[in-house]
């Protein structure tokens, strides 16, 4: 299986498999686990890292979840392959930059287990829309299925032992990708961000730590992993996400009401440019696609089209554009190709109408 196959496969983040929702793009659960008795990847010698990879791949391949899945070894992939996996959030930049990292990915791409990143294992489960309990249940099952085989490092007092003190205990990072054009346009993001971080939640742009929120998309995750039960962590995040979603809708409705024609005009101009532009940069297309997603959420565009917008957001990223084209492209080449892909995908889109009540 190649990275190319990952691109062409249907998955719930890019195809209408009945899962997309407004505001919350996806929910993710990540568990950090380590094998007992072997140094963490950052300190392990090369033979040890190879041993870790072999044991983990073997353990994972025995699970039904990963039957017909993909195993990717970072050392065997091209730069472009690795960049595509990072853009799809299947692996992290840190895993992609190391030589002995590997990723085992399920066929439906909802489960991706990173091997030899900061910890021996990072179990990740992602679903489209808001499905905290659903993703947690899958992650919990994988954890329980792997544990007996792989013998995780665990202490009664400190819980699951990890390389970094920021992950020790439950090793759980629960997060949601949220689309907040309403709060952004209303200028409320700083206030919202501050309120969240004061209550133990991290807010970052969807492209990772220290990045701006391209397309008004943010990742909200728990910071504390020790001293709270998994249930408490999930409830805490869930409560805040519901709050943020409500605030986002309030901001959207207020904006639409106050701006009236201006609101529809802004969304229409974005559709217009996306449908006819010959060159599109990554940043500007993300911004305009954000408007289209908003339009779909509010009934200004048919909701059934939303998965096309989501697919363009993922596939408009630089490595994706190049892989589709079949090879590396320079900046202008990517902008040209991106615009062509977007024009084609939005060809049949109707005009933007007023929001449904």
């Amino acid at each position: 299986m190649s990275v190319q196959d990952i691109l062409s496969a249907e998955n719930e983040l890019t195809h209408m498999l009945g899962a997309q929702q407004a505001v919350v793009l996806s929910t993710r659960i990540r568990l950090a686990r380590n094998l007992d008795g072997i140094p963490f990847p950052g300190w392990a010698k090369v033979p040890q890292r190879k041993e870790i990879a072999e044991r983990c791949v073997e353990g994972l391949n025995r699970l039904p979840k990963f039957r017909r899945g993909h195993v990717f070894r970072m050392g065997e992939l091209t730069d472009l392959d690795r960049a595509v996996l990072v853009e799809r959030h299947l692996v992290s930049k840190e895993l992609a930059s190391g030589k002995f990292g590997a990723a085992v990915i399920s066929k439906d791409q909802t489960c991706s287990v990173m091997i030899n990143e900061e910890d021996h294992l990072r179990i990740q489960v992602v679903k489209a829309g808001w499905h905290l309990r659903g993703t947690w249940n899958i992650a919990e099952q994988l954890d329980d299925a792997l544990g007996p085989d792989l013998k995780f490092a665990f202490s009664e007092k400190l819980g699951y032992l990890t390389a970094c003190p920021t992950n020790v205990g439950t090793g759980l990072r629960a997060s949601a990708m949220v689309h907040l054009p309403g709060l952004c346009l209303a200028g409320h993001m700083e206030k919202v961000s501050r309120a969240l971080s004061q209550d133990g939640l991290a807010v970052r742009g969807w492209l990772g730590e220290g990045t701006e929120a391209a397309g008004n998309i943010f990742q909200i995750s728990n910071q504390q992993t020790l001293g709270l039960s998994e249930d408490a962590i999930l409830r805490h995040l869930g409560g805040w996400i519901k709050n943020v979603v409500e605030q986002e809708w309030n901001a959207r409705r207020k904006l639409a009401t106050e701006e009236g024609d201006k609101f529809v005009d802004r969304l229409s101009r974005s559709l217009g440019v996306l449908r006819y532009a010959r060159l599109l940069t990554s940043a500007e297309s993300m911004n305009m696609l954000s408007h289209l997603r908003l339009a779909c959420d509010m009934g200004c565009l048919p909701e059934e089209r939303r998965h096309i917008v989501d697919r363009l957001m993922i596939e408009g990223q630089p490595a994706h554009v190049q892989m589709r084209q079949g090879g590396e492209l320079d900046s202008d080449g990517r902008d040209l190709r991106r615009a062509a892909v977007v024009r084609e995908a939005l060809r049949d889109f109707p005009e933007v109408g007023p929001p449904l009540a």
């Binding site: 008795g37 300190w43 665990f154 400190l158 439950t170 001293g227 709270l228």
Partner: protein
């Protein structure tokens, strides 16, 4: 307006500023990025100073017997060397854990086959409080259920 400080070696604008205080006497050295990175023998005094400021002040005080990781390694990397490092460095990291996690004891799940002692103790504490509340609210059915749960937890903890 004072002029920007110039590098002591090459007269470029200085961005690295070093001060050394020896027996009350202050010596200041200003370097540009390029000269600071070069190090070496051009002017031994200046680079002895630079070296002294970046070298570890003391020998390692904690070393993990399993993997050789030291506290100095931790200060450099922010991550530990192996799961057993937690035995060696656990106490020393206590303060950091509280700062980063606000708590120092695990109350979540355990691997299959391992008794989740922390989780049970945590639940026990909560159940005891809930039982008091139920009794106070005269919810005797609820209180009875909690009393049974508490007994069950206490038994499991004694056996684990």
């Amino acid at each position: 307006m004072s002029q920007p400080l110039k590098c002591s070696l090459c007269e470029e604008p200085a961005t690295v500023h070093l001060s050394q205080v020896v027996q009350g006497k202050v010596t200041k050295v200003h370097l540009c990025e390029a000269c600071a990175q070069k190090g070496g023998a051009t002017d031994p005094a200046i680079f002895q100073l630079a070296d002294a400021l970046t070298a570890p002040a003391v020998a390692p005080s904690l070393i993990c017997p399993h993997c050789g990781f030291t506290d100095i390694d931790f200060r450099k990397r922010g991550r530990l060397g192996c799961p057993d490092c937690w035995k060696t460095f656990g106490d020393a990291l206590g303060g950091l854990l509280i700062k980063v996690q606000h708590e120092a004891t695990h109350v979540g799940r355990a691997p299959v086959g391992v008794a989740p002692v922390g989780q049970m103790r945590h639940r026990l504490e909560i159940a005891r409080t809930e039982m008091e509340v139920a009794i106070a609210a005269e919810d005797f059915e609820g209180a009875a259920r909690l009393r049974d749960e508490i007994a069950q937890l206490e038994l499991q903890l004694r056996n684990s």
